[in-house]
Subunit: 337 residues, 4 copies
Amino acid sequence: MIIVLKPEVSKEEIQKFSESIMAKYDVKVNAWYGTHATVLGLLGDTHEVDIESIAAQKIVESVKRVQEPYKKANRKFHPDDTVIEIGGHKIGGGELQIIAGPCSVESYEQITEIAKRVKQAGANFLRGGAFKPRTSPYSFQGLRAEGLELLLEAKNLTGMPIVTEIMSTDHIDLFENVDIIQVGARNMQNFELLKELGKLDKPILLKRGLANTIEETLMSAEYIMSSGNEKVILCERGIRTFETFTRNTMDISAVPIFKRLSHLPVIVDPSHAAGIPWLIEPLSLAAVAAGADALIIEVHNDPTKALSDGPQSITPDQFDNIARKVFAAKQSLKNIQ
Amino acid sequence: MIIVLKPEVSKEEIQKFSESIMAKYDVKVNAWYGTHATVLGLLGDTHEVDIESIAAQKIVESVKRVQEPYKKANRKFHPDDTVIEIGGHKIGGGELQIIAGPCSVESYEQITEIAKRVKQAGANFLRGGAFKPRTSPYSFQGLRAEGLELLLEAKNLTGMPIVTEIMSTDHIDLFENVDIIQVGARNMQNFELLKELGKLDKPILLKRGLANTIEETLMSAEYIMSSGNEKVILCERGIRTFETFTRNTMDISAVPIFKRLSHLPVIVDPSHAAGIPWLIEPLSLAAVAAGADALIIEVHNDPTKALSDGPQSITPDQFDNIARKVFAAKQSLKNIQ
Amino acid sequence: MIIVLKPEVSKEEIQKFSESIMAKYDVKVNAWYGTHATVLGLLGDTHEVDIESIAAQKIVESVKRVQEPYKKANRKFHPDDTVIEIGGHKIGGGELQIIAGPCSVESYEQITEIAKRVKQAGANFLRGGAFKPRTSPYSFQGLRAEGLELLLEAKNLTGMPIVTEIMSTDHIDLFENVDIIQVGARNMQNFELLKELGKLDKPILLKRGLANTIEETLMSAEYIMSSGNEKVILCERGIRTFETFTRNTMDISAVPIFKRLSHLPVIVDPSHAAGIPWLIEPLSLAAVAAGADALIIEVHNDPTKALSDGPQSITPDQFDNIARKVFAAKQSLKNIQ
Amino acid sequence: MIIVLKPEVSKEEIQKFSESIMAKYDVKVNAWYGTHATVLGLLGDTHEVDIESIAAQKIVESVKRVQEPYKKANRKFHPDDTVIEIGGHKIGGGELQIIAGPCSVESYEQITEIAKRVKQAGANFLRGGAFKPRTSPYSFQGLRAEGLELLLEAKNLTGMPIVTEIMSTDHIDLFENVDIIQVGARNMQNFELLKELGKLDKPILLKRGLANTIEETLMSAEYIMSSGNEKVILCERGIRTFETFTRNTMDISAVPIFKRLSHLPVIVDPSHAAGIPWLIEPLSLAAVAAGADALIIEVHNDPTKALSDGPQSITPDQFDNIARKVFAAKQSLKNIQ
């Protein structure tokens, strides 16, 4: 961490300030006295240093981090890829997985039919929403506990591990048999929820928030990991920009950046990123080309009857085609490397 | 609601679709058959109509709302300003209130000293963070329950109603004696939390999310209100944009827009919007000129020692000066109208 | 175009308004009288209808386009892909091209050496900046006319068609022997320049502006095309968002969207989109997977000595590797379809 | 300027690099050797140092400016406010000016009638568009040279100095008798145009670009000033964000920030920032409260017949009311200080 001090600061003040930092954190402080400004360098493990508190000091002009503020999620301290294995299927480590299923679980017939279809097409994980975050209180809020039951029945029937979203710490007990718990974009900085999920021994699929930076996403992963649960899967699902043609703007660069900065698996959700069914194929191929470890795709047996998020779902037939192409593309790309 | 159908749709399909809408919602459907397209108009109370489910239908080209999707927060159905009175002080209805206090409650001495100082300067409400949403798990997370206790002691000592942030439904019981419960920007779409706060009989200060539109903010207010609690205060606190000079971009237009679309009181947080102490005065004056009912300002007796968010706090002396100017400006603006 | 009128409008006013529209534009107006609102539908060729002038009418509540506002760039009126052939190389129509070269032309040795190297690696087009748009007036502004001369010498030596940016109508004569004239992101809405380029018989590479929507980009293409020059190549090069890790956010979705809405060729500039050399490979692969017709990549023989934009350039050796992979990926993707 | 070097760099490399910087720029380089990293500090006038070229060096980890990259626009080197006086009216220096008039000049009757009305209400400058930047080539492009003629006639008739937009260096001669030449948001980084305007002895009203930062706006001012013309007026007119209720998001913070960083006058355009007539009054009051030196407001005698941008214009009667309020508010705010 580099601290630029204001021009007029006395040596004594600098001395006192340096000592206060060393007393509080496990770092060494070196000073470089320039003609116009003094610069302090903090050496050691600075990830616990509160940058805002430093910046608030009267004598400080500006502060700049040199090290990343996350540690457990940081590839520098964990060079090998984290691979998360569930039911014999690996997320991370070179394989490509597809997580597929409807936006909302609606009925036994719906979820089991879709599960069978997407499994045939090569998806190893079943997704489905039970608790649904909806902008309007008047929109369908999901089948909630009943939806979880139906998902578990589909899991029993097909053997597919299930992925579903949690919206409150109050519901954690209900998620006992869920294989991967999803934290949605709107809860990415629900820190109380993250801390509780950090106490579980279960993979957490963490979606990047609509207005959150790559670094903030890694800091939210750090919340879960520093509470004890290191099985975090990062998910790019589009950010908010001025462009209105797509619902969100899928930030494809986030995939290679997450992979470089962190050892955690990285997946992409082209369904929510775009909100347009005909974009799912090109965006899935692009995600695989950019290095994604998995895709999470919404599939509905009858998108026009979906109780939520219908417009962005594809049919099982369309999914067959996309799955075939992305697995083939993944294979080709492996051969090219 | 106007539904544009695709060109090739048959009259029979249109008939069937219209009937299905009328069966599901309390609306009438009128069709206008053009040469190139058919347009349906939904008449009646459309705020419960699920626009996404309509848009997902195969025969639909696009959908456009004519009415707002919120009802209880809508000025059309409640033309008079909502005025929330707490401890004899009104928020809304033409008065200007200032809510002031430190970012984080740190000690008895700190919170009571600041409370006395800001009260003298004209602030009628005391703010202070007990549960703190911090990007990093390694940053100070607030004194939590102990912080609430200290706030209540400051309330007892000064008679000032208190405002503090809630971060989880798990903590609701702890907030029993809090006068105004704040929902932070990161939890604006924590719908499970909103629903629970909707069951209380206590004012809720709802901060606009960093990446949330004005309409989404009103929909979150609607969550609280439709659960039974109509005492919602809207707060503009800056949105995320590409500009990096300020921490966020304060959307001053949101003030008159909220006031026009809704009857709820509207307040502005210049401290978080900008993150720069010397911007608090001009932004406070601008907020008052744009019609804000209250300001919420961070004041710390020693900003350089603040445990969180120090850089954006001002001292009690600076606050005295700002409070004097904004009250005077409010008075002048009243005379001008 | 659908026009929703305000509730209280009389039949006479509607009649008069409808007639005024029909008198001004070549369209028919149909009215649908609802209980709460009247809706007008404009049938015919509405791309010349000024939506803002309609929206300004006192009796109008809101207006919604059903048709796109561009015509010559619109795939609906030109279903087949536009293929632009220069020096025997096709841009569009299924092939993958690479345009490569330095950010700025610096010397004869530099430009010819890079040209030879990128040609060997499979690039068919040479890029290089002569007139440079720089944020600071104190930064290197390019060799200007001399830079164009050097580019033409490299063209003569290698036979590669050249691509370079124009910044003013004053320079058009200088660009006579340039094969593809580039309009940079900052000039995408320099309409006077677009009109003049529309009078040439030469391909124009139109870069999407930093804050411009997909539709606005197509409208700028329409400026060139409606002036007579239909040889426009669209280029996605990243948009401005809140994310600061990358210089811009590459909007990968723009590639399939441009291809669907328009018949024009679509290329991607991963160098400027990211501003980070190690992102060029994954972003290039993603662009090809998403359907891009060409890539434009900055290559410098000594990026650390580049006079502008050095940080985002790669070396010829790195380029060899990337070119090999993207051509192989393109071939595999063709086989998969 | 602070340069953080990569960990593994040798002392010799550092020496060589430092010398190369001192040879190229008029600065001194000091090195501070830490345990994990070496930091270089550049002392002296760094505004000509090309930060990108420094960042491109292999041995450089990151670079951070301490000084601003603009000099002539910088308040540090010019502490007193720049005041621009035209026709006896001052922009800057404590007065409030209003520039008013139609979006487009349409006819002699229109422009002269509006000019007389806004003059009566207290506006000292007349605005009107002759060359119009329109997104669509099919929209009205302004009366162009004829529009300039009509503006000059209105100037002769009323004595009001005129403000109008230039779109190309080709038109500079036509603007000889224009009092203030406006550079529109879309041309803020049309650097060739800025350089030419820098050769004139005439005030330039520089509008901030839709996606441009405050610093970039000051750099564009620097282009004009470093070419010799120091009469630049900065204008905030809204930036592009995700919010769709308003056309743009007016960045009110830009006003006090521009005033602090620069000595140049700062004006606000509430008409374009919002695009909604009923927002002009609250946004104008907010701009004045935040410290704006002038407002530029669109007024049309018949907004529903305006040939461009009608929806955001107000009538002369509405303008009378707004002008009265903003002048009164300005007077009150002066008394409060």
